[in-house]
Amino acid sequence: MSQKTTENLDEVTIRFAGDSGDGMQLTGTQFTNTTAILGNDLSTLPDYPAEIRAPAGTLFGVSGFQIHFGSMEINTPGDHCDVLVAMNAAALKVNLSSLVDGGSIIVNTDGFNDKNLKLAGYAQSPLADGSLGKYQLFEVDISKLTALALQDMAMTSKLVDRSKNFFALGMMYWMYNRPLETTIEWLKSKFKSKPDILEANIRVLKAGWNYSETTEIFSVRYEVGPANLAPGRYRNITGNQAAAWGLMTAAKKARLDLFLGTYPITPASDILHELSMYKSHGVKTFQAEDEIAGICSAIGASFGGALGTTTTSGPGIALKTEAIGLAVMVELPLVIINVQRGGPSTGLPTKTEQSDLLQALYGRNGEAPVPVIAASTPSDCFDTAFEASRIALKYMTPVILLTDGYLGNGSEPWLIPEYDTLPDISYPFTTNPEGFQPYARNEQTLARPWAIPGTPGLEHRIGGLEKENITGNVSYDPENHDLMNHLRAEKIERIANDIPLARVDGDLQGDVLVVGWGGTYGAIRTAVVHQREKGHSVSHLHLRYLNPLPKNLGEVLSKFKRILVPEINLGQLVKVLRAKYLVPATGFNRVRGLPFRSVELEIEIEEILKGIE
């Protein structure tokens, strides 16, 4: 056995890349789960094409999965990767720009034959022409080694080839000193009824590990110790799973049945998949014929006394718009989750973006105010789904929760909340017929009563026509319409009394306040912390509540010389802040379908700081 040395690292970023049929998402997810259980902090970024199996070997068929993990606080999936695992030439070509100088490349040499090179647009092999000189290149014939490990198993070459991702995974487990057990256990449950495939995958996984251990190709392996996370029980969770569980938990705490009416759409479908598994919890999921049917069924369910919810992505919100207005008019609770993706139109279905904020705030006919909140990390999707439900039920209103593809598919360790410490959010139905009026309002919240069919004596009619104040009868009276518009607006404004004040990370006054919302949290936090370490006067404010905005926000903004609003859109929140607070906020906007790199935010912050000096 060759002599191997071990080095300690605080953090590392690995990117697995291959054909969309190569199982890179699976490989990444397995590495993530194992890493989470070891106690590292982590953040992941799946990056895959919209095509399920694009033609093999092509540039547009490349699927990637990046994981950033460490013994320190990890807030982003990493601006760049330190290690790139490339299963073919196209994967190398697409991802090389994300590799740091001096980084490691592990290539499957079998994926660099003439056909692969041609498809990737290489005139000559990058493995041979010296173009990768500034990186550490490790060439492994993963395909051949996989085949050798399985040569006595009488499997088709196609099946053999499908196992090769486990060889790569085994190598990475060796290199970062991770145990194989988590993945082996997972394989055992996944392929319970297919013993051949189970054995093949385990063999290949171990072959990858053993190859790394015994050959001289790798001389160094790395140790990444556990992170200093708050004490408690953890699990790894994706944003979509967290959103699903947040809704389930909210329904339980509200003592209601959960109803999800939805239509499959990338990247939101996983919430439907998740919730459809929990029939034993009484969850009812309805895969409707279209987006409109999805939301309308949820409104019908809410009318009947369920927690009605619907999930979608931007194009789906466009279709649901009229029904959101109906929910505003009939004042029923409804949670609408928009897992944002690249737009406009079909846009970039599998990529992330924040360009639906103005749609959420204003995209309806008439004056149709809707509370809007946004999740900032994958696990925050749980808290925000719960909070969206609370607001919807307490104020009898539709609520839009904005997450995005990066949060929905990305994952991080999650400190599992104590169910018993979560608040009770049950608001009793109205049952007393005496003096019942469908549009009489709670003095404090302005919510109307929730009177559900099946309650004797409360038979009443609601609908999309303007309502007379208090009675709820159809009314065309001009003064009543004006009054009702104001009442609906004020009801939503009053929610500001019921949400936390805006809280600044860093000094409460100074040169630059970076204001963000949604999935840019990690990148902004990383950039601001770094800038503060450099001694700059920079603070961070991340908004969860986008409508209504926190009551103290104007005052908070006024304490800084400059306000920077980075968004993965062309400047939406910045418009709102300028209009509402008349502050000279400036935007930083890149719309690439990818999360921000913290370093680009730092460059922008430093530019602004120069302007102040």
Binding site: R235, L256, G300, R461
Partner: protein, 350 residues
């Protein structure tokens, strides 16, 4: 743990259904259809039938979309939801899935149900939720003041088709059958007794019952169905479908309908060539026959079929959901959210 809905239902489970009259189903709202509109009759027949159904008022919900017909819920003393255009069917679907205990009625029109809501309509039929759909077919857009509708005859001159409409009309009964409906019927606004009978049958059907009601719009499409509704012409132009009975019509019951191969033909029962025994006998359990009978619609040489085309049993959607829930609870135990949150691969940080 029971939900808040369970508690409400439990607290009124002992209340007996009162003895109602039609008047008990009239709401306090002024009815605002045009004088002479066929909708008045449909409202009256529905209110007349309700006491016979044995359903307490608080369990009744009428859901509608947009259009003249869709004002219906405001006039019923029951729970009501006046939705948005074309979507009554899906609002009702969500409501019924959430609350299988309710008696849910969808009120729609030929524009609302066949045009903007056409997609939802066909999916409702195939899913077979246990709810009732009353489609007021007046073959015109009334509320938007007189454009042709998806059931208007070809060549119709309207405000939007000064040179005549080019669209071939839907036959709602055939559309419903094509979408695998389990109960399909047609009735007439001017035949109160028949309509009452059909509404009662629809209410008792387990599954989606679809009732098309020919309804006269005396302002924008007057007399569209006059040959089927007026005394002088009705008998010779309508054949009433009755389960187990031969298809016979005419003022003197002197005409019958015979199946010749796959073709229907009208024959005389007077000339001695055919007797009643040779006539096609209706069987509302026969899906193929239902297609053939529904297809008589719009054929000028055949009388217009009215009555129940099809009434068959198929599993009911929301019942199957409840069954899956019961199955999952039995197999996995009643879900525990605390256990779920802590399930799978977890680890403890000290």
């Amino acid at each position: 743990m029971s939900t808040l809905v369970d508690e409400i239902m439990k607290s009124n489970s002992s209340t007996e259904t009162p003895k109602y009259t039609a008047k008990d189903f009239q709401s306090d709202q002024d009815v605002r259809w045009c004088p002479g509109c066929g909708d008045y009759s449909i409202l009256a027949q529905t209110q007349r039938v309700m006491p016979d159904l044995g359903i307490p008022k608080h369990k009744l919900v009428f859901v509608s979309g947009i259009g003249c017909s869709s004002r219906f819920p405001y006039y019923m003393s029951a729970y009501g939801f006046h939705g948005i255009h074309g979507r009554a069917t899906v609002i009702a679907t969500g409501l019924k899935i959430a609350r299988p205990d309710l008696s849910v009625w969808v009120v729609t029109g030929d524009g609302d149900g066949m045009s903007i809501g056409g997609n939802h309509f066909i999916h409702l039929m195939r899913r077979n939720l246990d709810l009732n759909v009353l489609l007021f077919n007046n073959q015109i857009y009334g509320l938007t003041k007189g454009q042709y509708s998806p059931t208007s005859e070809m060549g119709k001159i309207t405000k939007s088709t000064p040179y005549g409409s080019l669209d071939y009309p839907f036959n709602p009964a055939s559309l419903a059958l094509g979408a695998s409906a389990t109960f399909v019927a047609r009735t007439l606004d001017r035949d109160p007794k028949h309509m009452q009978g059909i509404i009662k049958r629809a209410a008792s059907h387990r599954g989606t019952s679809f009732v098309e009601i020919y309804q006269n719009c005396n302002v924008f499409n007057d007399a569209a169905f006059v040959q089927f509704t007026e005394k002088e012409s009705k008998d010779d132009n309508v054949v009433f479908l009755e389960h187990g009975k031969p298809l016979v019509f005419g003022k003197e019951k002197d005409k019958g309908i015979r199946l010749n191969g796959f073709t229907l033909e009208v024959v005389s029962l007077k000339d001695g060539k055919y007797s009643v025994n040779d006539m096609l006998v209706h069987n509302e359990k026969d899906t193929t026959l239902a297609f053939i009978l529904a297809d008589m619609t719009y054929k000028p040489h055949l009388p217009r079929p009215v009555g129940i085309f099809l009434a068959i049993d198929r599993p009911v959607y929301e019942t199957e959901i409840e069954n899956q829930i019961a199955f999952a609870k039995e197999k996995r135990g009643v879900g525990d959210i605390k256990k779920l949150l802590n399930s799978g691969e977890t680890w403890v940080v000290q």
